[in-house]
């Protein structure tokens, strides 16, 4: 009776939980699409769809680094920033030569991923050789430095080529030229080529990448280094390169998320990706559960939407937000709640298996 698992034996463990995250996110996507098509979605809600997707992707990436690899990263927004501004520049530069929006979006996201990954490797190689909280300190600084750097960058191009200047705007573009980065004003006049479907696809792809990585040789090594460095080394696992892998994938996903985010607005200021954004993403990860991708997605959706939904409460908005945060913390750490949750989960999965 039992069907042969098409994915091979390694996927059997936690398969239900993993399938659940794909099913939930697909269902949500279809509902939102349907509501959007039938015009039942308020414009406020519509404007939040792409940002929610971006934060989910960044949070999934961060969870790989914080939850699975056990290294604290306080600069995920910095990597989003790198991805976002790279993507915006690439998209702006290619706007004439690549007219197709979808193709340009894909190219821009790839550029965002590559640049964020590059920064991840540059930071990771020296820092991950050390033991302790150094990564947290360095990524915290990285987030601030990237913000300041981009705030002081002027980049433009015309038919003669690319012009770049730092701190002061010394670019003098010929007529028909275009500024890509405008110092503290950031990127302006970006063509909005992101959309909800691209966001959904990006979430599915990042889930696939992260899950496939966790349930593999590399994933075992990443978790082994987290649980016991000395033992991991004794069985021949290179700790630095293993942690670097998790950190780089995490940064790349932030880069992808940033790219999608940047191309969703006509104006993007560097100050958008500040320390608070990094902490917010970390909050999504911690409240969703370390190593728990479905939980991370749920926490992200709730916590991004909540402040917007509470806008009518005006002054009480942040108060309620804080109360919800505290409630989630208490509930997810309460043994009685956890036991009952497991019981419910077991019952659901037992039923499913019984039917099949």
């Amino acid at each position: 009776m039992k069907k042969k698992n098409p994915f091979g034996r390694i996927l059997e463990r936690d398969q239900g939980r993993r399938a659940l995250s794909f099913i939930l996110i697909t269902a949500l996507y279809l509902i939102m699409e349907a509501m959007m098509r039938s015009g039942n979605l308020s414009s406020l809600f519509q404007s939040l769809l792409v940002p929610v997707c971006c934060y989910i992707v960044a949070a999934i990436g961060l969870n790989l680094n914080v939850g699975v690899s056990g290294e604290l990263n306080l600069g995920q927004a910095g990597f989003m920033s790198v991805g976002a501004f790279t993507a915006v520049c690439v998209s702006g530069y290619l706007s004439a030569s690549v007219p197709s929006g979808i193709l340009r979006l894909v190219l821009a996201i790839l550029a965002g991923i590559l640049s964020a990954a590059l920064f991840g490797i540059i930071i990771g190689i020296p820092v991950l050789k050390l033991q302790g909280d150094y990564l947290a300190i360095v990524t915290l600084a990285f987030g601030q430095i990237i913000k300041s750097l981009i705030t002081n960058m002027y980049l433009g191009f015309d038919e003669n080529g690319i012009q770049f200047s730092f701190v002061e705007n010394k670019t003098s573009l010929a007529p028909g030229g275009k500024m890509l980065l405008n110092g503290p004003m950031g990127a302006t006049g970006t063509e909005k080529i992101s959309n909800f479907t691209a966001g959904f696809i990006l979430i599915v792809l990042s889930l696939l990448v992260v899950y496939n990585l966790i349930y593999s040789r590399s994933g075992r090594a990443i978790q082994a280094c987290r649980d016991n460095r000395i033992a991991a080394e004794s069985i021949g696992i290179n700790i630095t390169s293993t942690k670097l892998l998790a950190f780089t994938v995490s940064s790349s996903l932030a880069g992808a998320a940033g790219a999608l985010y940047g191309l969703n607005y006509s104006t993007l200021v560097p100050a958008k990706f500040d320390f608070n954004t990094s902490i917010l993403i970390l909050v999504y990860v911690v409240l969703g559960g370390l190593g728990n991708m479905t939980g991370t997605m749920a926490a992200t959706i709730i916590l991004v939407l909540l402040p917007e939904l509470l806008r009518s409460m005006q002054d009480y908005r942040m108060l309620i937000y804080a109360i919800v945060l505290i409630l989630i913390m208490i509930l997810t750490n309460n043994d009685t709640v956890r036991t009952n949750m497991t019981r419910v989960k077991n019952r659901i999965f037992a039923k499913k298996e019984g039917r099949a």
């Binding site: 994915f7 091979g8 034996r9 390694i10 463990r13 696939l208 990448v209 496939n212 990585l213 593999s216 040789r217 590399s218 994933g219 075992r220 090594a221 978790q223 082994a224 987290r226 649980d227 016991n228 000395i230 033992a231 991991a232 080394e233 004794s234 069985i235 021949g236 696992i237 290179n238 892998l245």
Partner: protein, 257 residues
């Protein structure tokens, strides 16, 4: 007869200083292919330090370690694992949040290697290697009677089973030499008895050499073919269990004058 056997590990004049403190000095030690050797000595004699030097957790200050004919100077911990030395720890070090099966699978890291990219893309090489790893890991678990607990978290295992799992994980790297650091610590006499049988059967089944540190004299005298005694970081004696038992220096070191 022992001289005819191939020496797998040859340690010559090994020593290490921590600041001004000499923890181990002029140690000579040989482990032959497929033998069970013992390293004993009173508390603080430097036994675990010797293990840490053999696995390159510490780089020795003096002396040479020849393993399988190769000088191991400036090799890293990972290099030593690749060369074929595996170990267990005095205070058990498992991957506590991984399942029992995944703990053993982690031991296959360098034996059945494939790139992260082929894992992400689920390429045929991933499926092929994972199938081998799964099969071999389950075999190891059944040898150590851990099959039923394969999906349990390592931290939830009872103490004795954790010790067995650590040995299974070490064997997953396919070592030539297995270092056991106080394998019988915290075990009752019956468990120790079972452990002795297990160590012997591991040696026979995997055809490897075993060097063990142990305080339980019944275990050491029962299974070791040769024993080296350390005291205050110096080699006190070396020989068969009978020779060690009747050596006056050893008796003095253990019992006092």
């Amino acid at each position: 007869m022992e001289q005819e056997r191939k020496a797998l590990l040859t340690v010559q004049d090994l020593g290490i200083d921590f600041g001004g403190l000499t923890a181990v000095n002029s140690l000579n030690l040989t482990v032959y292919d497929k033998e069970i050797a013992g390293l004993i000595g009173p508390n603080g004699a430097g036994k675990t330090t010797v293990f840490n030097m053999l696995t390159k957790v510490y780089e020795p200050t003096r002396g040479t370690i020849l393993f399988d004919g190769q000088d191991t100077a400036n090799q890293s911990v990972v290099d030593m694992s690749r060369a074929g030395i595996a170990r267990t720890f005095q205070n058990i070090r498992l991957f506590s949040k991984l399942s029992v099966l995944d703990n053993v699978k982690a031991g296959f890291h360098n034996r059945e290697a494939y790139s992260p990219a082929s894992a992400v893309l689920r390429l045929p090489v991933f499926r092929k290697k994972e199938a081998v790893i799964e099969e071999e890991a389950l075999k190891l678990l059944s040898i150590f009677s851990l099959s039923e607990e394969k999906d349990t978290l390592a931290s939830n295992l009872p103490y004795g089973a954790q010790r067995r799992l650590e040995i299974a994980r070490a064997l997953a790297t396919k070592p030539k030499l297995l270092l056991l650091d106080e394998p019988a610590a915290g075990m009752n006499p019956q468990e120790t008895e079972e452990l002795m049988d297990m160590i012997r059967s591991v040696r026979d089944r995997f055809a490897i050499a075993i060097l063990l540190i142990e305080h339980d004299m019944k275990l050491v005298m029962g299974i070791c073919e040769r024993i080296t005694v350390l005291n205050y970081g110096m080699m006190l004696a070396e020989g068969t269990p009978e020779e060690i038992r009747s050596n006056p220096d050893v008796i003095k070191a253990y019992l006092g004058e």
